[in-house]
């Protein structure tokens, strides 16, 4: 298809046309009323009201058809909508011709409104179809002028608007027709040229985006094999250290023990880091998660159990309030629990002693919203956008906690997005942060 619009945009445009037509129909009826009062022209009023009513009825029908089409997702929507748009514009041209006829023909300056239809078709349809629509407009208008000129149909002037009978003035009619038709074709030419240029640009962006995705994939695959390789070495190192520290290879003296313990701690941390990185990268690469139905409440209870001890140690009060009736989510309970745990652990980690951490769950028609609020150190406002990026750690967070992978929030975001939700943060440095995320509710069909 020779347009810049994709399927979804097409549907939107079709509905947009319907909306415009509602306005047009009411305007038409309104203007007919005003003109009939101004010029005392009853012959004009009735036909225009009829046309307005036809327009309203046809628009309503169109609206229903579009609604039906959108609901039937399995048919090739773009093509059907394209045809409907062609039909709409054709019908609109016919109706406009009717309106012009009943309101003075060539003497009605509104005839230039054909230009709107031509612009709309140039934006939405192919260049060829736009020229065809322009030709139809020229033909209809030309036909009207000719039939009136030769008195084959009755001229219906707006009484009192013009004193001269322009519709029989050869030069005037010819002049109007020539200017009118050239204008329409030029409009098609100009509009479609701009549209085509935009489309080319869009194609270029699409191509560039594809290339970027490919490069990102290569990067991820590279990251995956490198971190997997390092992790397998680290696993062996860790195993050796485990044997030493559990004295299975014989007793160690105090200094040796301490050295082994230090090495063991670092090995553990780097393995934990590599595991998280692998998990994140894998999720990015496959884009898949194993899904099942599960209880959000249960995930929250489990996540709370994991942080209770730490919170108690710092005398931080942790509470949760869950305001939902049904709590079923379709997704990975393990990943969601991990996300909750991540956020809760962060909250406890960055909240000073005697603070509070609270979790709220609310719902609307389609989403659960989970909010975790703490009275911690907060996030500097210029860093709020970056904390979900890989390896990024806010400056004040690094001061409080030297170690940290900078991957926790990236993986949380990835998990939430994979579930069709969103995650965000609001925070004031020094007073606390609120992390919120949404999860789509499971709708039992």
């Amino acid at each position: 298809m020779e347009t810049i619009l994709d399927n979804e945009q097409f549907v939107k445009r079709a509905f947009w046309l319907v909306k415009l037509r509602w306005i047009t129909a009411f305007l038409l009826i309104g203007i007919a009323y005003v003109i009939s009062k101004l010029f005392d022209s009853a012959s004009l009023e009735i036909p225009l009201y009829v046309i307005g009513a036809v327009l309203l009825a046809y628009n309503f029908l169109l609206y229903l058809i579009l609604r039906c089409l959108v609901r039937l997702h399995d048919i090739p929507l773009g093509r059907a909508i394209n045809r409907i748009i062609i039909l709409q514009i054709t019908a609109d041209l016919l109706i406009l011709t009717g309106v012009i006829y009943y309101s003075g023909g060539v003497e009605n300056p509104f005839f230039f409104y054909y230009i709107f239809h031509v612009i709309i078709s140039s934006m939405l349809l192919s260049r060829r179809m736009s020229y065809l629509q322009a030709t139809l407009a020229v033909f209809l208008f030309g036909l009207l002028l000719t039939l009136e000129y030769f008195k084959i149909i009755r001229h219906r002037p707006i009484a009192g608007f013009l004193d001269v009978n322009l519709f029989q003035n050869t030069y005037y009619v010819l002049g109007v027709f020539v200017v009118f038709s050239t204008t329409l074709y030029l409009v098609v030419y100009m509009t479609t040229s701009i549209v085509l240029q935009l489309r080319k640009q869009q194609d270029r962006y699409k191509l560039l985006n594809l290339e970027l995705n490919k490069k990102d994939r290569i990067k991820n695959e590279y990251l995956l094999s490198v971190s997997h390789d390092i992790k397998s070495h680290m696993a062996v190192i860790k195993s050796c250290l485990d044997i030493l520290s559990t004295h299975m290879a014989g007793p160690l003296n105090e200094k040796q023990s301490e050295l082994v313990e230090r090495a063991d701690r670092r090995a553990f941390k780097s393995i934990a880091f590599l595991s998280t990185l692998l998990k994140l990268t894998r999720m990015r690469l496959t884009g898949k998660i194993e899904r099942e139905r599960f209880s959000l409440k249960q995930c929250i209870y489990n996540a709370f159990a994991a942080i209770e001890e730490k919170a108690e140690f710092k005398a931080i009060s942790v509470t949760y309030e869950i305001y939902v009736k049904k709590d079923t989510v379709f997704g990975s309970p393990l990943l969601i629990e991990e996300t909750l745990r991540n956020l809760l652990i962060n909250a406890v980690k960055y909240t000073p002693e005697n603070g509070t951490v609270s979790l709220y769950v609310t719902e609307d028609n389609t989403f659960f919203t989970i909010q975790i609020t703490d009275t911690g150190i907060g996030i500097p406002s210029d860093e709020k956008d970056k904390i979900f990026d890989e390896f990024y750690r806010a400056e004040n967070a690094r001061k409080v906690e030297k170690d940290g992978t900078g991957l926790g929030l990236s993986i949380s975001r990835e998990v939430v997005q994979r579930h069709g939700g969103a995650i965000w943060v609001s925070s004031h440095e020094g007073t606390g942060s609120t992390f919120s995320f949404t999860l789509p509710k499971y709708k039992n069909a």
Binding site: D242, M248, A249, L285, E290
Partner: protein, 130 residues
């Protein structure tokens, strides 16, 4: 529990070495093989009571293939298999704990590398019924 025989099948000599050390220090008799072919010949000489099996060796799924072969072997089908893997991160196969009960991969237990000595011993003891 003394003299119970464990066969470790893994192509990483360092993994084999460390596990052997852990298990031997707890009185198990440990033998090792670097791939399934060697494993078979070792088993013909002496039937093990437990097999610890790595997933990736010469091929990405040699461990899986060998395991299936064992479970269809009249003499070996009752030997419990403890599967070791770091493959989960690499290929995104998500093994569930109950995966061992499924027909496609009949193993008794999975462990992720690196294996903690205490966890390894615990699983081995459980599988050997000690």
């Amino acid at each position: 529990m003394a003299n119970q025989k464990i066969l470790i099948v893994d192509d990483d000599p360092d993994i084999t070495y460390t596990m052997q050390m852990i298990l031997e220090s707890h009185g198990y008799q440990v033998d090792s093989a670097v791939n399934s072919t060697t494993a078979k010949s070792r088993m013909e000489q002496e039937k093990p009571d437990l097999i610890i099996l790595d997933v990736m060796m010469d091929t990405m799924h040699e461990g899986f293939d060998f395991d299936r072969e064992l479970k269809h072997h009249p003499e070996y089908k009752d030997i419990p298999v403890l599967m070791l893997t770091a493959v989960k991160e690499r290929f995104g196969l998500d093994f569930k704990p109950e995966a061992g009960n499924q027909e496609w991969l009949p193993v008794e237990e999975f462990l992720d590398k690196p294996v903690k000595p205490t966890v390894l011993l615990e699983k081995v003891e459980k599988l050997l019924g000690n």
